[in-house]
Symmetry: C2
Subunit: 355 residues, 2 copies
Amino acid sequence: MKTINLAVFPADGIGPEVIAASQQVLHRLAQLHGGVSFECREFDWSSAYYHKTGRMMPADGLQQLEAGGFDAILMGPVGSPAIPDHITLWGLLLTIRQGFDQYVNLRPMRLLAGVVSPLLNPHRHPISMVCIRENSEGEYAGVGGRVHQGKPGEVAIQSIVFTRRVTERVMRFAFDYARQHGHRLVTNVTKSNSMQHNMVFWDEVFQQVAAHYPAVATDQQLVDSMTARMVSQPETVDVFVASNLFGDILSDLGAALTGSMGLAPSANLNPERHYPSLFQAIHGSAFGLVGKNVANPLASIWSAQLMLAFLGETELATRLMSAIETVVQDQRVRTPDLGGTSSTTEMTEAVCRAL
Amino acid sequence: MKTINLAVFPADGIGPEVIAASQQVLHRLAQLHGGVSFECREFDWSSAYYHKTGRMMPADGLQQLEAGGFDAILMGPVGSPAIPDHITLWGLLLTIRQGFDQYVNLRPMRLLAGVVSPLLNPHRHPISMVCIRENSEGEYAGVGGRVHQGKPGEVAIQSIVFTRRVTERVMRFAFDYARQHGHRLVTNVTKSNSMQHNMVFWDEVFQQVAAHYPAVATDQQLVDSMTARMVSQPETVDVFVASNLFGDILSDLGAALTGSMGLAPSANLNPERHYPSLFQAIHGSAFGLVGKNVANPLASIWSAQLMLAFLGETELATRLMSAIETVVQDQRVRTPDLGGTSSTTEMTEAVCRAL
Ligand SMILES: CC(C)[C@H](C(=O)O)[C@@H](O)C(=O)O
Ligand SMILES: CC(C)[C@H](C(=O)O)[C@@H](O)C(=O)O
């Protein structure tokens, strides 16, 4: 019997509901499989924890997590209307991303059969894109400050920091991923026409890395027109590699195009496994839905599926993905975001049955 | 007879074709009106000029332009496949925006009757949004550099610089615009959850400025989920105010949602009129279409319409807007981007007839 050790963060808002759903599905999967079990340790670090302690996690939170020897982290959404977002996010999620060097944020965006896209005729040209987002520096380096605060002459500076090592590794990851998963095109998302320091550098590194992958075709798209391309010609987008901020923006757009924020998963990866990777739905904490048992758990469940794939549990990952696809295609059980009236519980049970 | 002095830059790619079309329409408008004439001085500063001289414009280009006493600048798209984009853009357009303190980039995004949006059912909820984009600093401040160039330890830094004076003025502009044009909602586009210096500052200024406009409702949207909102609930978006980069990205998305990049206009405004403002289609130079007489001239013509409105030529502006709407709604004359086979010339003539 193989044990997979998980650190589980229900976190904020609808987090506890969708994380419980994901755990239920994982345990059911383990039961059916027989050879694997999930050992989950729950952490209450969250906005509620902040209200009690004045911190999102203990000062030695990263060390505690590291000492736990976890194979992965499952996390609910972070953020609360009662606390400024930069406090909650830098207090937990962004610190873990950076601290555990989760330098790839992998975000598949696929329009599943049975889901209605806001686009006209999307099924004529199936939407299936993969965002490989740099996840450890760039616009999220956190570098900057303010001077003359509150005065007429105030200046606020946020510095975007790109380093060659980090830029190269995420691009290599993108090309390796494309090659391993049979993708033919890697699109470089840039803005080097106006951002003449960081993005010109980014383009140079892209060219240099691409030269090592002659079998993978490449193209380049400005981030602004990339939004237009995703909307007007989504079928031309395959894998794209983007900076931290650009990946953030484009993956929300991609999620919307694939029908619901309630379906979009993400994987924050430390590919070398020096640290645990973190899996999380990309939707927010949606305080308005809390306790109503209506949140779509599939984004979180799909994130757990990405975890299984990353951990090399291919059989489990494949089985879970088909279950998700079956439930969605079937359309009988649908949470409100997908146009139905089913509950979180019903959706979770439907996935368990489909396993 | 009133004379309006225009500096005209055909610029790159399809620029000469769409700029000629715009001039033709303006002259026809003047003819019909009787009391106004347009005096156009053409400037050949462009990528072609760069190939001849090694510069996009003369070293004293801004001074020359200022000395010309122009009421406005009409410009074609800038950029050429043969020259790195940051050279062409910083050599001309971005330098003029900054040099002439064109601190507002006004971008109406309206789905005209007769145009097919890539969205399902967009006419059920008409799309009509206005992007007020900060246009003089922020992510486009141009500040930064690179160290250890080409070496493994290379670092590239691009600093985002927000100043209070500039942030306040664009927000005041947004609220004044909303009030004057009967808009009820101004959305603050932010990313203060991850960008804790510049965007937290931005949000503070937004709150402070908003307090002076109690009659205008406000809300706040993260730039990433703003893309989802624009796609899934475009009818909830009215006026939004965004940083230079965020406005750039969201206005391309908005243009795509309103059916064609060939329709989207922009106005780079110095509201105080210390310097001439600049009007330009938001599409690119599209070298693939050059000389084929197929480019849609309407984005450029609509930009000229924004110019008339800005110059206070309300009657001319209204007349031109109805002509554009008539031609588009009529659908008999449509360039390929709108699904037709008409030429640039035919489209331009149709607008002249509709005047
Ligand atoms: C919550 C926020 C800081 C985060 C981000 O911007 O990375 C989220 O939008 C995401 O995409 O995971
Ligand atoms: C050409 C480019 C520098 C420009 C910008 O990014 O501002 C364009 O995309 C625009 O939106 O006007």
